[in-house]
Amino acid sequence: MALLQIAEPGMSAAPHQHRLAVGIDLGTTNSLVATVRSGMSTVLHDEKGHALLPSVVRYLTDGAIDVGYAAQAQQSRDPQNTIVSVKRFMGRGLNDLADQAHIPYRFIDAPGMVQIETRAGIKSPVEVSAEILKALRLRAEKALGGELTGAVITVPAYFDDAQRQATKDAARLAGLTVLRLLNEPTAAAVAYGLDNGAEGVYIIYDLGGGTFDVSILRLSKGVFEVLSTNGDSALGGDDFDRRIFCWILEQAKLPPLNAEDTRLLLTKAREVKEWLTEHHEVQITSVLSNGDVINLHLTAEEFVDLTSHLVAKTLNPTRKAMRDAGLTVEDIKGVVMVGGATRMPHIRQAVAEYFGQEPLTNLDPDKVVALGAAIQANVLAGNRSDDDLLLLDVIPLSLGLETMGGLVEKVIPRNSTLPVARAQDFTTFKDGQTAMSIHVVQGERELVSDCRSLARFELRGIPPMAAGAARIRVTFQVDADGLLSVTAREQTSGVESHIVVKPSYGLSEDTITGMLQSSFASAESDKQTRALREAQVDAQRLLEAINAALQQDGDALLSPDERAAIEQDMQALQTLIAQDDSHAITRAVDALNHATETFAARRMDASVKQAFAGQNLNSLEI
């Protein structure tokens, strides 16, 4: 483990140090990690030279865990302990999963998120995903020679709050600091746009292994502004495999298969799909576990017919996104294809027909998301000083509250630019009502039962009043990661209740801490040393941040006395870092944060003035 670097008080640790930051594409089928080296975004390979890491995790009999190719190689032999396409289960309950019959796992219905029984015990999709992320973290640390400052993790744009939260939990569990959750199509747009100096309105059509996204972006001088997004978080290349799989079952008149044969034929189906991308026909042969031989012939035309409804299914979200952005196909400068599934010729053809232009395929559709994420990670870690990249993303699905009669009152409409906050006032229904139950949902439908339930909580202690007299203001805040927090406040009494939306679909903070502890229990660090280490790292980051701010604006924005007061608190914290009391460090961090509030406000005001400086001179007319 690398030692913490501690600089002299009042000095920044190493002002021009390059911080190690990566972009991670956590895909349904494959995952990748990329970083910016010498100004170039590059995908990091494993020691065998593979860029892709198959998103497959296998729990072995001896307690070991295989991730990637090794796990993939055994998937047909050990299907119940080899988890593939785990992304499809993130933030999903058992009843959300379509055609479970064809998924060879022992599912356990758990509150919020489905779990999978393996020989290593019951695993949540978050834990399985964490294994993939951990493998990528180790790959990056080995390649870059140090601990990572942080990572940008990509998620499908159409992921809802539960799925995003699950992804963030997985990253934390893998020991990663999440700099930002970034939408996959936006990441692709960054890689494409910066590479090609693109300006204008672009469509990103992203069909991955298990998810489909379409985003419309306006690119202008380094600003990537998402105008609208739509998609289907349960539609991807996997569905094309499954269609072939079902066709094989029908053609060969097979009875229900065991888990091994199911996995065998699903794998075969994927090979068939990939083959037909470049060939006209294929001979399918397989030997099942009972010795039965399958021998079938499939042409590319037949494959197109089998899957045309899936291609059509991607065009509906595309139309919706166009309508939400208020655009017609004439407004579109280019269509960028992302995701391995867009290699299929009939998909390219359908997209070309819809937009009346050939889609752009000059970037590797498997890598473009990770490359874009790495660029954003590099900016967020503070390695890029020129301020010429800004991503303005949106929330994909409306957020609302349950009102009388099981109806949804939308509070934040879909495609609102992040971050966004919106408040809505509600009142009591009965005389003397002292509590109110608040049910937060996400989705576009009118009925609560048709939307995803994100959280329920109660505002208690409302002073008894006549029905309709109380004023309860519910405020939704969605941050730049697309994650929601909700505050409810009774206006006359000030009674308040706040919730970061996690409980019903994410893991609770206690569960995560428990998992982190157990995963580190075998290492030398116990609970206290880990807590201490985290506190030290946080404190060091804060000191660096304030140091940088002081160097930049300390003289201009602070009086000598004000500056001295802040430096005194910094000194106090610096002394505590060297000691081993994590609580004392946390308290000193809070105190220092508090002490710098005025300074932070002045810096922000100065930035805003800076934004419009010299504008009265008419020099900013376009």
Binding site: L179, R180, S220, K221, V223, E225, N316, R319, K320, R323, Q376, V379, L380, A381, G382, D387, L390, L391, L392, S416, T417, L418, P419, V420, A421, Q477, D479, A480, R541, L542, E544, A545, I546, A548, A549, L592, N593, H594, T596, E597, A600, A601, R603, M604, D605, S607, V608, Q610, A611, F612, Q615, L620, E621, I622
Partner: protein, 177 residues
């Protein structure tokens, strides 16, 4: 957050008028976000992060309000103490109500007949009506003696038309699904 004297217009350094230079609004919005967006404060203290989120949230809210003509007019009226009260004040001129009913019937007919082309035509028609109301608002809110209550009426009409537009879009989505 920002000082209390500021409003959505001054946040972008624009005059508080209905007729605005939308290209300039777009440009100022991006300039402001380039300074205050949370991505610019990823390595900052939590105090600065919080402030950045508040600023970026305000910038988004202001931009959204000014970008949409009905929201912009409503906001301008509010700045002058006139509330449009769309929820409670639903009294409309008879001819406007007649036109509304005709549109609603036409939407229902097209929906029942699953006629996407007819829905598309209706969409164009009401978008034309919205444009006319926006031009009226420019008159009502511009000039030396603005007609505030007439403008409030136009905003209420625009809200009606917005709802119709939503209905058409939803019907189209259902037909395409």
């Amino acid at each position: 957050m920002q000082d209390s004297s500021s409003n959505h217009f001054s946040l972008f350094g624009l005059p508080a008028t209905f007729a605005i230079d939308t290209a300039l609004l777009d440009q100022r919005y991006r300039q402001l976000q380039s300074e205050v967006h949370p991505d610019k404060f990823a390595a900052a203290s939590s105090t600065e992060k919080l402030r950045s989120m508040q600023w970026a949230t305000s910038a988004n809210e202001a931009y959204r309000t000014l970008k949409n003509p009905a929201a912009r007019a409503r906001y301008l009226l509010e700045l002058q103490g006139v509330h449009t009260d769309e929820e409670s004040n639903t009294a409309m001129p008879a001819d406007f109500l007649m036109q509304q009913m005709e549109w609603r019937e036409a939407i229902e007919e097209a929906r029942d007949a699953k006629d996407l082309t007819a829905l598309d035509k209706l969409l164009n028609e009401i978008q034309g009506a919205a444009k006319e109301l926006q031009q009226a608002l420019e008159q009502q809110l511009g000039g030396t003696s603005p007609e505030l209550s007439a403008a409030a009426g136009s905003v209420r009409k625009l809200s009606f038309i917005d709802k119709l537009r939503e209905d058409i879009l939803q019907s189209m989505e259902k037909l395409e699904a």
